[in-house]
Assembly symmetry: D2
Homo-oligomer: 202 residues x 4
Amino acid sequence: MSEDESKATRSVRLAMKMIGTHIIKTAETVQDAKVDEMIDQILHAKKIFVMGAGRSGLVGRAFAMRLMHLDLPVFVVGETVTPAIEDGDVLITISGSGETKSVVELAMVGKQCGAKLISIVSNPSSSLAKVSDIVVEVKGRSKAEKIDYLERQVRGEHYTLAPLGTLFETTSLVFLDGVISELMKVTKRDETYLRLRHTSLE
Amino acid sequence: MSEDESKATRSVRLAMKMIGTHIIKTAETVQDAKVDEMIDQILHAKKIFVMGAGRSGLVGRAFAMRLMHLDLPVFVVGETVTPAIEDGDVLITISGSGETKSVVELAMVGKQCGAKLISIVSNPSSSLAKVSDIVVEVKGRSKAEKIDYLERQVRGEHYTLAPLGTLFETTSLVFLDGVISELMKVTKRDETYLRLRHTSLE
Amino acid sequence: MSEDESKATRSVRLAMKMIGTHIIKTAETVQDAKVDEMIDQILHAKKIFVMGAGRSGLVGRAFAMRLMHLDLPVFVVGETVTPAIEDGDVLITISGSGETKSVVELAMVGKQCGAKLISIVSNPSSSLAKVSDIVVEVKGRSKAEKIDYLERQVRGEHYTLAPLGTLFETTSLVFLDGVISELMKVTKRDETYLRLRHTSLE
Amino acid sequence: MSEDESKATRSVRLAMKMIGTHIIKTAETVQDAKVDEMIDQILHAKKIFVMGAGRSGLVGRAFAMRLMHLDLPVFVVGETVTPAIEDGDVLITISGSGETKSVVELAMVGKQCGAKLISIVSNPSSSLAKVSDIVVEVKGRSKAEKIDYLERQVRGEHYTLAPLGTLFETTSLVFLDGVISELMKVTKRDETYLRLRHTSLE
């Protein structure tokens, strides 16, 4: 780092490195069986639905956009052209806590309609995880980190490198981009294929 | 890596590590002056507008959500409650290529209305960058990587760890989370403060 | 009608007239006290939240956009910059059946957080209506009309002038535009005022 | 009207009746050939894209949702799963003025990609109308009404029954619901069919 690095830049760099490191570490914890099953479900689904609230919902949309580029039949819960979910469909939900009220509620509706439920969570003992067919755990903040943050706040420090669900959200996004990479390989669809599907109306 | 690592998991892990590494490397390239100016503009803006198309638009929304948690007056271009932009406002646009038609067009409208224009781009010589007051460069794929991809496709390989704008989008997201971290410090707003602003209707 | 009116045009005209007539008839059923209370709540709310699913959600957004043009502090549930709801806020929900799962669920969360709940429904004995502080009934299809539709379907006729919630949705939109008209009068904000707030980034 | 009708209710009723009357009057102006062509294009499109900004965009979404209920391959410009537009597709744009910058710009991109362009406008000599293959005129405010509003504002009156594009937007919504009614007839898809496609995840 340069000597004249501004204080602001210092925070930004620290946060970026911490998040990057978290992603690399989490890569090692990805569970084989879960990824294989998830990819299998996606490839054999009649329709794929993606759901999440807040920033987790944005992560879901980023994933859905790439599934569309791969020409898979994907829909985002809450958007205009999303049809009824039914037997043979797959519902992928993203929620760190696994306790977001509307997400858990609608996940159960999806199951009742016959869909397979895949959840991306940081809490594998959550309500969402419990009703899911496939649970993919993506680590967010560790308990040690949470305690560290709380102690800082007690001391009146405002400094937080990645507040709230940031680590879970970003790492989920990158994990799902990893799934896209594998799907490209399996479906033999390269970047040129994706680019041709990419919307031109923007 | 375990011996029985499935092939799918292998791709996912490789992609995650590659993206994580790219984020860490890019952290070093963040330019001091730009970050300082950007934070200064955000803190002194009458209103902040965030704009982007496709996945870059989702990155913008993720950033806007945290600005709202910090109680800053932020709006997303294209959403329902977004008012007119005017003198004293700041418009933050995210576009890897810096050439997305509607984004460049509306960025110029924003400038004409008197707003300061901050752009997050991977191409600092793009149309968007040229009309911006502050240009923050976030590296996406290098030219060497692009050539490598093209050669693979010529050879009929479909394997791509991070297709299209993936590297730019994820790295921008993490960079903007770094900016949030610094904003928390400067505004003395800690996680408890953010949590209280986090929507309960989800 | 001209003799050479095409069959398609005939359907379109019939549907438009039927819906127009329904709106005019429903105008007479608007209940004094409810409108007065609703306007009073909107004008005194700390923040206003608008919520609805599907086409009712779109009606809510159209209303929210005008409230923003009036410079009232309004947010749409599910959009990016929507903060926490709290004591002193008003939550306006739109649901014909008053039974949409996520809407009812989140309406109750809103109440628990201390917000006043206004619901626009066609079914005043619904779950949503029951938990609301102010219930505005906007008539959708009458029971007689519903029976008529069912009988047609039994006879194999596919002809429907306004399927599903169409009548409720359109009439709610027009009712809420009526509320906007009154709010303009009360707040002394004319069209020029609204136009100045209208987004220029589109 | 009852004697104890509140002043607020009076405005609301007046606005509703005025808008209802406008819809009925406009029904008579619907042009045969245009509706026939529009329905023909929709039924033979490879994919249908719907686009609009602000409240016109919401009207477009309400229409798109019903097209989806009819199982037609429809997408909303700006939403997540919207793919590239190409030869054989139809792009339906809604804009009262026909001059909304981003809408006109992207309409031209759509045409260049080989799509047929249908526009719903109140101004048939607008930029959007000029580049369209089919122009459907839906009357908004008449010139006489506009002059009346301006005179009121000069006199300091704030009273407006339907400000800005309200008449165009609502009438377009109802016109497009008329088109849905005709499409149900032609495709022999009744309400039960639509209900089965209606999303259950809400």
